[in-house]
Amino acid sequence: MKKNNLFVLILLFWSLAPFFWQVYTSFSTTESIISPFSYVQNRWTLNNYIQVLTANPPFWRYLFNSTIVGLSSTGLTLLIATPAAYAISKVRVNVERIIRLFLLGVSLFPYVLLFLSLLEIARVLGIGNNLFALSIPYSALSMPLAVLLLCSAFKDLPKDLEEAARIEGLDLWQRLRWVLMPLISPAIASTGIIIFLFSWNEYPIALTWLSKAELITLPVAIARIAGSSLYSVPYGAYASATVLGSIPLIFIVLFFQRQIISGITQGAVKG
């Protein structure tokens, strides 16, 4: 038991130390950043945060953009994936196996390599620089996993249930909306959270689709900050940007850890 506690401490140190170093740096003055382990007169400051929050556009704007992209992608994906998953759960077993294998293969694909063609599609359709348009590639990319997860949730439901609802005179839409979907809501929640995290964090496509400074999402903003000399102070402002960008995710992980973990593991098991 004692030994385990020690290992847990090591694990937590490994997972959290880089983050705490960011927090520490973000509250440090330039002098203390330069010499972190020696005595400095003015050690702490809020200037880094003030600088990032009063920049143009202010930092919260990126958080807002990412939230819009995250929510719209999650909504669109679930809207399309749920009926598809239902349909697949009804086909013959060997057909279903082929579809599953195909979806699994597609979801393994390193999607970064798609950026060039997606960029061309955005240009042809004229949907670059539109936050809501980003949800189209995002939901397409999350579709294989979402369908896999929801399909196995539908399959786990007892067969008689839908039959009984049909005899009661409920049509397909009513059965889905009032009988089946409430029952698979845990699976919908964990699928949704996983999609939200993906869309919130996605970088290569957001990078190539968005160019207007007030529209870029958080990951793109962070990369831009890293690549620019806009913040002349070394790293103090960077660090406060990474801390601000991490806070929403810390809350999401703490509140939804059960859903996230079940999403990840179901994806691996059912795939």
Binding site: M1, N4, F7, V8, L11, L12, W14, S15, L16, P18, W21, T25, I34, P36, P83, A84, A87, K90, V106, L108, F109, P110, V112, L113, L114, F115, L116, S117, L119, E120, I121, I136, A140, L141, M143, P144, N201, Y203, P204, L218, P219, A223, I225, A226, P234, Y235, Y238, A239, T242, G245, L249, I250, I252, V253, Q257, I261, I264, T265, A268, G271
Partner: protein
């Protein structure tokens, strides 16, 4: 019924199949600033060029090196973490959530964080090194060490993901199996070899495949942490394709890079698959 499936099928097709078709087309055309981004057939010049392009093969070597080392490390560390989280520990839920945090953060955020940690001369690692009187490490500006730093950052970020998959696998193994094994006089290490590993195998294989494919496409981490440098030593194939498309505005060549990367990935994955099944057979024959 088909109507229910159609929108999903169209989306998946347009995002995965159209690009492959388009890349194949582009790779046989010149499409760059010089052609005003119009596609002009060039008799496979892109393909001749890529086989003589040292930078491409250097990046292919770097991508394979990055993938094999980081995925191997991740799997080993993830097994240890999963075994630990499977024990009775205090506040298991909270520990699990905190372990998961690195995976949930955007890659660009953690890449920037690690760039700062490895910074010379202000980063903590460099500072500790020089306080100990060992001189200067210069991790990120030395081509021999910068790629190791990117591996550490990647391991930090993705190990929790694998650990959770393996943990789910561990929890499917009934305790009675271990009890019976111990009763028959088996040791703990033997139990790990003969019960845990075989039962975990499907979970290990899916994590291995998934992580191999994703690590092969590494992009965000490299762009933010090192920018591909120093001297292109950390440049991945995905990043090279990006540079060709958006910096050098050579879409035809970029598409060729992407296609060949894809082909190399398939070959590499097949090799990994063969290797694991070979190792598997060896292990099994040893047990029997």
């Amino acid at each position: 019924m088909t109507l229910l499936f159609l929108p999903a099928a169209i989306l998946i097709f347009s995002v995965f199949a159209i690009p492959i078709i388009r890349y194949t087309w582009l790779s046989f055309h010149a499409s760059s600033v010089l052609t005003r981004l119009e596609d002009i057939p060039n008799n496979g010049a892109n393909w001749f060029r890529i086989f003589g392009d040292d930078r491409f093969w250097q990046d292919a070597y770097q991508t394979i090196r990055f993938t094999s080392i980081s995925v191997t490390l991740e799997i080993f560390i993830a097994i240890l973490i999963a075994l630990l989280l499977d024990q009775k520990i205090n506040n298991r839920g909270l520990v699990r959530a905190l372990t998961l945090l690195p995976w949930a953060l955007p890659t660009t955020i953690m890449a920037l964080g690690w760039r700062w940690i490895f910074n010379t001369p202000y980063g903590p690692i460099e500072k500790i090194y020089s306080i100990l009187g060992l001189g200067s490490l210069n991790i990120l500006s030395n081509p021999d060490t910068a790629w190791l730093a990117t591996i550490i950052a990647d391991v930090w970020k993705t190990t929790p993901f694998i650990a959770l998959i393996l943990l789910a696998g561990l929890q499917t193994i009934p305790n009675e199996l271990y009890e019976a094994f111990i009763l028959e006089g088996g040791g703990k290490l033997n139990a790990f070899q003969q019960i845990t590993l075989p039962m975990l195998q499907p979970y290990l294989i899916i994590s291995l495949l998934f992580r191999t494919a994703q690590a092969f496409g590494v992009f965000d981490l490299i762009q933010v942490m090192t920018g591909g440098g120093p001297a292109s030593s950390t440049e991945s194939l995905g990043f090279y394709a990006y540079l060709n498309a958006l910096r050098f505005l050579d879409f035809g060549y970029s598409a060729t890079i992407i296609l060949l990367t894809f082909i190399i990935l398939i070959i590499f994955t097949l090799l990994v698959w063969l290797l694991t099944s070979r190792v598997n057979k060896l292990l099994k024959s040893e047990i029997l």
